[in-house]
């Protein structure tokens, strides 16, 4: 069975979706990713969907769920590289993925994640001190 690779870069996990997502693959990714976040104690998850041409409502919801689960495990999720056509489709479907952070490409997504991680560390420190 095909599997979506999850790469670890520093404190981040990088997921590059290169194949067409079908429902079972999405569920498998959700399982693998949560396992991996716990195992590597990652603080950020970067999901690159620039190769995805079709995102249906199920995949959209799964992305939202993954972000929510990662948040529970104290990791920030950023979805990068969404194509214009996909963005329009999701909006028309009424899925604005409000729980997911987005960035234009992997580079900007990495920068955003580091900012988010540092920000949350800083605010946690501030809370402890305050």
């Amino acid at each position: 069975m095909e599997q979506i690779p999850i790469l670890r870069i520093g404190r981040c996990l990088l997921v590059t979706i290169q194949v067409d997502m079908h429902d079972r693959l999405a569920m498998a990714l959700q399982d693998d990713l949560t396992e991996k976040i716990v195992a590597t104690r990652a603080r950020g998850v970067l999901i690159d969907i620039s190769a995805l041409e079709v995102v249906d409502s199920f995949i959209g919801r799964t992305l939202n769920n993954i972000a929510a689960m990662a948040r529970v495990l104290d990791a920030q999720t950023v979805v990068v590289g969404m194509r214009p056509a996909v963005a329009i489709t999701l909006v028309e479907l009424g899925l604005s993925l409000s729980g997911v952070k987005t960035a234009l490409d992997v580079d900007k997504g990495m920068a955003l994640i580091s900012r988010l991680i540092d920000g949350s560390v800083a605010s946690a420190d501030a809370r402890r001190e305050g």
Partner: protein, 285 residues
């Protein structure tokens, strides 16, 4: 009496062609086609008669839908096109075909002595010519619709420019009401430019939008959500006092940073992308 293969109509069009052409052209000139030159009318009429004759001769009879009438229709299309371009009304264009009736019927009357047969011939001819006349009207309408469609497209293209203001900052001035179709175009243009320019911030300027109701707000929100999904933030600018009041009265939730003027929005965008523009020192006297 004419034999089965050659109807009186064909006899006339074949035998008295120049005479028919003369009286037809005279008739057209007399009936208010004054905007056109005589030579042009004569040329068009003569071509029509030529094709009309070969269509009749090929034995298609009264069925104006048949393939042998294709050439006649092409001539009519040409006539319709030139007349539309010169600002003729549809009835004036259709009169091109209808005006042949009078001279043609007069000749038919002379050629067919028997009353019942004459009535029959005139009926067949009139059905045929009506078909052709209606065809010109249809063409006229089609030409008009094409013009309207093209203008709509051009309007859509013209009204949704996306401007790159600064490195990573796009501006989208919207002018006119935002309906569903325009939203689609605006959204597609904006998203494509976001990808092309790698822009992080898009300023949507609604100075030119006359009113913001729930529907327009809905469309704005859609555009903003789509841009956000791609990883770009939106700022709305150009909200006039009147529109600010309407938005609050309607209870609309735009959930987006908004600024009163494009300049403010631009300043914010610069700050967010970590860029600065300033004066380059004291101005030279």
């Amino acid at each position: 009496m004419a034999d089965a293969g050659r109807s009186p109509l064909l006899e006339i069009v074949e035998g008295n062609r120049s005479q028919l052409l003369e009286s037809w052209v005279a008739h057209q000139l007399g009936s208010g086609s004054g905007q056109m030159r005589e030579s042009e009318i004569r040329e068009q009429s003569s071509r029509f008669l030529e094709e009309f004759r070969s269509a009749l001769r090929s034995g298609a009879g009264g069925d104006a839908e048949g393939p042998s009438w294709q050439r006649v229709k092409e001539v009519l299309a040409e006539v319709s096109r030139t007349r539309t371009a010169e600002g003729f009304t549809p009835s004036q264009t259709a009169m091109f075909v209808f005006s042949i009736k009078e001279p043609l019927f007069r000749m038919l009357r002379a050629a067919v002595p028997d009353g019942a047969q004459l009535a029959e011939e005139i009926w067949k001819t009139t059905v045929l010519l009506d078909r052709l006349g209606l065809y010109t009207t249809e063409l006229y309408q089609k030409t008009r619709e094409e013009v309207i469609r093209r203008q709509q497209l051009e309007l859509l293209e013209l009204s949704t420019p996306v401007v790159e203001l600064w490195d990573g900052i796009l501006a989208l001035p919207i002018i006119g009401t935002l309906d569903s179709e325009r939203t689609q175009t605006v959204m597609e243009n904006l998203l494509q430019r976001i990808v092309d320019a790698g822009a992080e911030i898009a300023i949507i300027d609604i100075t030119g939008v006359p009113t913001v109701d729930t529907l327009v707000a809905q469309h704005l929100i859609k555009t903003i959500s789509a841009a956000r999904l791609m990883g770009a933030d939106c700022i709305i600018s150009g909200i006039r006092p009147q529109i600010a009041q309407t938005i609050v009265h309607l209870g609309l939730q735009l959930d987006v940073v908004s600024k009163a003027t494009m300049a403010d929005a631009f300043a914010l965008a610069l700050k967010r992308t970590g860029q600065r523009i300033g004066r380059s020192g004291p101005a030279q006297a």
